[in-house]
Amino acid sequence: MKLLTHNMIQCHVANCKSHNFPLKIVLAEENSIENEECEMNPDFIRHMLPKLEWSALKNTVDSLGLGNLPEKVPSPDNIPLETLAVLHHVLLEVDVKNCQLVCPNEECNRSYPVVQGIPNLLLTKDEV
């Protein structure tokens, strides 16, 4: 699972309506994060910037120790090359292989397992 996807998904249990984003990443083992290099696409990153939940992304990146992102959202038109490179790496190259995604809502606390990089987002009968 890429962090771009992580930035877009929220808990979807029926009763969990608020504080259900971002899902906390609880890593399974030390080496459960892999890197898959891919070609940089500045246009795409500029396009996605307004859609990102910046504080959530920054918190996640900081907690996983993946790089340095500025405190504030850079404007899409004049984004520094360094930030662009970090964003590209963090959003599209980092691949979380094994972890639990835990809902931040304390009443819910639902955890979704990620195995081999594929999150299992299926709900049970009572959660729909």
Binding site: L4, M8, E53, I118, N120, L123
Partner: protein
């Protein structure tokens, strides 16, 4: 062959062997690819920047590969773990999620620039578990999908409705969720090539694109002219000016000539042939 939906729920039907077919069968691959190309055409995405797309029922990622080829980024979801595993083996570019579309789409509002789905939507009309109600699942799916899409984005679903009622159920529930748009039918006159695309717009009303029907412009012209001609001939018949009286002299002689040619025993023509009779009282 019966429809896959009648055989087993999707997570069981798309087993390891079925998933492997998608990896090795070149016919399946070419069909999936061409349908994805058509869906992309209908999506009408902006050419300025790469788009972020959602692929519903992505399977082994065949359709996703086509999206990557066109320079787009995508996230795929599917209910069959075997299909996803096959996609993982092939090393597709997009992220894969193990998810049931009937439980709703769990993305933040305004995430996607477009949604593609190839041969998946008809599965939603099934009730595979005792607590599944197709109508509820469709409503949940379309309402959550609507919010996950950017305003003005399009969703294109290629699918195989089993009955007209099913088609109605699906479109009704999409309209209820706020979508506008409708069905596009490609090649409606062909049984094999016929493909149905449900083309939905989130937020912005636009006209539904025309379906392809495999006819050149000349053929279309011919068809429309034929229709006009027929309408014309119908209207003249009504007034009865062009048509000669029944069993006139010409008609009788033509009939006798026809009989002679066929070698039948026909009376010779005389001055009495098809003569007018005196009026009767």
């Amino acid at each position: 062959m019966s429809r896959p939906e009648h055989q087993a729920p999707p997570e069981l039907f798309y087993s390891a062997t079925e998933a492997k077919k998608y990896a090795v069968n070149s016919r399946m691959q070419s069909i999936q690819t061409s349908m994805t190309q058509r869906a992309l055409e209908l999506l009408n995405l902006s050419a300025d920047h790469p788009s972020y797309l959602l692929d519903i029922g992505c399977g082994t990622g065949l359709s996703g590969e086509e999206l990557t080829e066109n320079g787009h980024f995508w996230v795929g979801m599917d209910i069959s773990p075997h299909m996803l595993a096959q996609g993982l083996d092939r090393g597709v570019e997009g992220d894969l999620l193990w998810h049931d579309m009937g439980q709703g789409v769990m993305f933040r509002p305004g995430t996607f620039d477009g949604v593609v789905s190839i041969s998946a939507l008809q599965w939603l009309c099934n009730a595979d578990k005792s607590y599944h109600v197709p109508k509820q699942r469709l409503n949940k799916f379309f309402t959550t999908l609507y919010s996950a899409m950017k305003r003005g984005a399009r969703a294109v679903f290629q699918f195989y409705p089993e009955t007209p009622q099913q088609m109605e159920l699906i479109t009704q529930s999409a309209m209820k969720a706020g979508f506008t748009g409708g069905a596009v039918v490609d090649y409606p006159n062909s049984t094999k090539a016929k493909k149905i695309f449900l083309c939905l717009f989130a937020g912005v009303g636009a006209s539904v694109p025309k379906g392809l029907d495999g006819m050149s412009a000349e053929e279309k012209k011919f068809q429309s002219v034929a229709f006009v001609e027929r309408a014309k001939s119908k209207s003249t018949r009504k007034h009865g000016s062009d048509r000669g009286s029944v069993k006139s002299k010409d008609w009788v002689q033509a009939k006798k000539e026809r009989g002679r040619k066929q070698g039948k025993d026909v009376r010779h023509d005389s001055k009495f042939t098809a003569r007018n009779r005196k009026p009767k009282f």
